[in-house]
């Protein structure tokens, strides 16, 4: 059994799907945030695997940027959770339907 890049891609697909299910499944805002991070992470795995296959450091740069964006997203996401929690003491996203108005 040779270890090919397909293994990494398959793993990445599985992790990504778990992340998607998490976003759709859970109603806790923080867990949704975590699931999104999981999806980003899964994509990073495939990027690194392909970059190593092609011996190209551009992929690493891309992952570097994804990490930075993830950090920004986490910061904003968390502050939004705090702001939401202040209007209504819960983090259940189903309790919030402000977008409707």
């Amino acid at each position: 059994m040779e270890l090919t890049v397909n293994w990494y891609l398959a793993l990445s697909a599985i992790l990504f799907s778990i992340g998607v299910m998490g976003v759709l499944f859970r109603s806790n805002a923080i867990v949704i945030l975590l699931s999104v991070e999981l999806m980003l992470n899964a994509v990073n795995v495939s990027i690194i695997a392909l970059a190593q296959m092609m011996a190209d450091s551009t992929g690493h740069i891309l992952v570097f940027f994804v990490l930075a964006v993830a950090a920004a997203e986490a910061a904003i996401g968390l502050s939004l959770v705090i702001a939401l929690f202040r209007t209504k003491p819960t983090v259940d996203v189903n309790e919030f339907n402000l977008l409707k108005h």
């Binding site: 867990v31 945030l33 999981l38 190593q52 450091s57 740069i61």
Partner: protein
């Protein structure tokens, strides 16, 4: 051989911890599972010889991102969610969609199975993934995106402070 064993071990840990993060009832458990997952993925990077990114993963993700999340969870004093009393339609839909997506991705992989070469960690690949090489690229060819990312982070910081302020209108 050792490589395969390592990969399989890390992959199982990663998938298991991902499921744990998504399914855990208490958010604090979720976050801790997530940390495990991130470290497992960092290990995967290292099996790929991407040492720099692997270290970065632990530092930035497991450190800088997960710690505030844990802080917030504890700050808001979030307890466990009640166990779902019955199967909601939402969960069914989520599950179906997730499986459909996974099937499609697997299908893509199956089609491309032969197109991809074998995983061989060449000398070049090791050289290309070194911190020196990445740093060089980052400050020459990708210096503009790098600056933009810096501005993005600044904007995110300011935005986070604004949102979290008590008197935010």
């Amino acid at each position: 051989m050792i490589q395969q064993v390592l990969f399989l071990f890390l992959a199982v840990v990663a998938i298991g911890s991902a499921l744990g993060a998504v399914l855990a009832r208490s958010p604090i458990n979720s976050a801790l599972w997530m940390v495990v997952n991130l470290i497992a993925v960092a290990g995967l990077y290292i099996t790929l010889n991407a040492l720099f990114i692997g270290v970065l993963q632990v530092l930035v993700y497991a450190g800088a991102i997960m710690v505030p999340i844990l802080f917030v969870i504890m700050l808001l004093n979030l307890g466990s969610m009640p166990a779902p009393s019955e199967i909601q339609w939402k969960h069914v839909v989520a599950f179906i969609l997730g499986v459909a997506l996974l099937t499609q991705l697997a299908f893509v992989l199956a089609i491309g199975l032969d197109a991809l070469p074998e995983m061989s960690v060449s000398e070049e690949a090791v050289a290309a993934s070194s911190a020196r090489e990445i740093g060089k690229m980052l400050f020459t060819r990708y210096v503009l995106p790098f600056e933009i990312i810096a501005i993005l982070l600044l904007a995110a910081t300011i935005g986070a402070v604004m949102f979290a302020k008590r008197k935010f209108a």
